[in-house]
């Protein structure tokens, strides 16, 4: 790859997951993000109670994301070989944590409605 372009990256992602699944994933991520913005606007505030549960669920998302990546790549935690590996691992954990927290917050907001 001489040039990194968005078009190239999208082509690679499409090959990685299959075109249908990739765009379905993009759509799901977009919908959850849109729903998050929707409940924030609807409620006109962040609910600290929902946010607390969302925060408490973050480790679940982090562990799940790391576990998933290790499983699909035949890897173990002992394979971490340098700082970049730890940074990568933390990035995966952080992405899993944040993604899952948003999902939990949105789910609560949609199921329970505006409570407090």
């Amino acid at each position: 790859m001489k040039d990194l372009t968005l078009g190239t990256l999208i082509a690679v992602w499409e090959e990685m997951f299959g075109r249908g699944i990739f765009w379905a994933m993009v759509a799901v991520a977009a919908i959850i993000t849109a729903l998050y913005l929707y409940v924030l606007i609807r409620d006109r505030q962040m609910s600290m109670r929902k946010f607390l549960l969302a925060q408490l669920s973050m480790p679940v998302g982090a562990v799940a994301a790391v576990g998933f990546v290790l499983a699909v790549t035949s890897s173990r935690l002992s394979d971490m070989g340098g700082p970049i590996d730890i940074i990568m691992l933390m990035g995966i954990a952080a992405a899993g944590a944040v993604g899952f927290a948003i999902l939990v917050y949105v789910a609560q907001s949609l199921v329970r409605g505006k409570q407090d």
């Binding site: 990194l4 690679v12 990685m16 799901v28 394979d79 590996d85 990568m88």
Partner: protein
Amino acid sequence: MSALTGLAATRRGFLGLAAGSAALAATGGRAQAQRVRTSARIAILGAGAGGTAIANRLANRLEGATITIIDGRQQHWYQPGFTLIAAGLKSASYSISQTADWLPEGVEWISEYAAALDPVSNRITTTGGRIVDYDYLIVATGLSLDWDAIEGFSLDMVGQNGLSAHYAGPEYAELSWRALDRFTDTGGVGLFGRPATEMKCAGAPLKITFLAEDIANRKGTRASTQIIYNAHAQSLFGVPIVHHRVRQLFDERGIEKRYDHVLKAVDMQRRVATYATPTGDVLTEYDFLNVIPPQRAPQVIRDTDLGWADRWQDQGWIEVDRETLRHIRYPNIFGVGDINGVPKGKTAASAKFHQPVVEDHLVSEIQGREGTERFNGYTSCPMITRIGRAMLIEFDYNDNLTPSFPGIIAPLEELWISWLMKEIALKPTYNAMLRGLA
């Protein structure tokens, strides 16, 4: 899934993505090059990685051209996956797809092999007797594995009696895993090595050696296992700094090495391998033997005068300019991939970097101007050192390391992130290349 999406990237794009969109912003989107009208007849010999990718690129780039691709093989093989199959990490199906699935509309695929090529009259004759006349030819045949050069060897025996030959194809790679699996269950003497000719993916013999050691270690049979790597010359790898690093890792892990040992014969029943050495033949009994044979240009190419007159005479790689990949004596012929007679890089990574160069020079020629792209010998070898770790080694003609992420991913360090690239990102990147998109 966003975490996994974050991993998904091209070799060059990987970290740029992980770091955010800065790299994207910096490089920007590549504008679609304008299509060029032409009535040129372009023949592509070979529908492997290089031939398929250039067919897609030219089909996108040219309008009105007659593009014909000639290859009798129905299956397309993702060869970088063979090592993973031979180590029991993937099944044979991981590397198998259909040639037809990758070829673009508007390109005629002749599902026959070339029987003869006449570069003077610009004519190819296929095994079915079809005649293909061309204005431009792209030679992308790949190479031939000369199994017959190993006396006593038969592919029929792969997977049995400790015999492994994962270069032969996905099914043979899977059979090879059965042999390796049994060997690492019980221990014994394992022999590895490489041929003395140029070869595709010169890192692969080292990878399977590292993996065998790792698997024996995981199974608890390492103490009863002797692993010997037979180097064809006085080094383990053509790039000196990589040789020293591999030697260091071999020493640390108790992998023995023998220099100037070239496998020439095998007694598959008695399990004895014969190596040619400067001091005469050496016979070694084994419990496991990985055979990688000498490699040459396919016969149809060797029957022409496309090869170099003064080098690789026994192998027949074609005489192309190492920077433009254009044939030195036949300017309407270009080479893509393993067939090129250039100092380094019979890898998919090189085949990928050949693409924009050949596309540029061919399209420029059609437009009546001179191409400007140059190939610097770039190749890449994700050197797997154990399941879960690899070294992302990239280098050029001058034995310079050319890391895509200097200061971030150290090329000579065993890293998980480099393994992730091999395991997750490489095949999608390869597939995108086949489609002419990467």
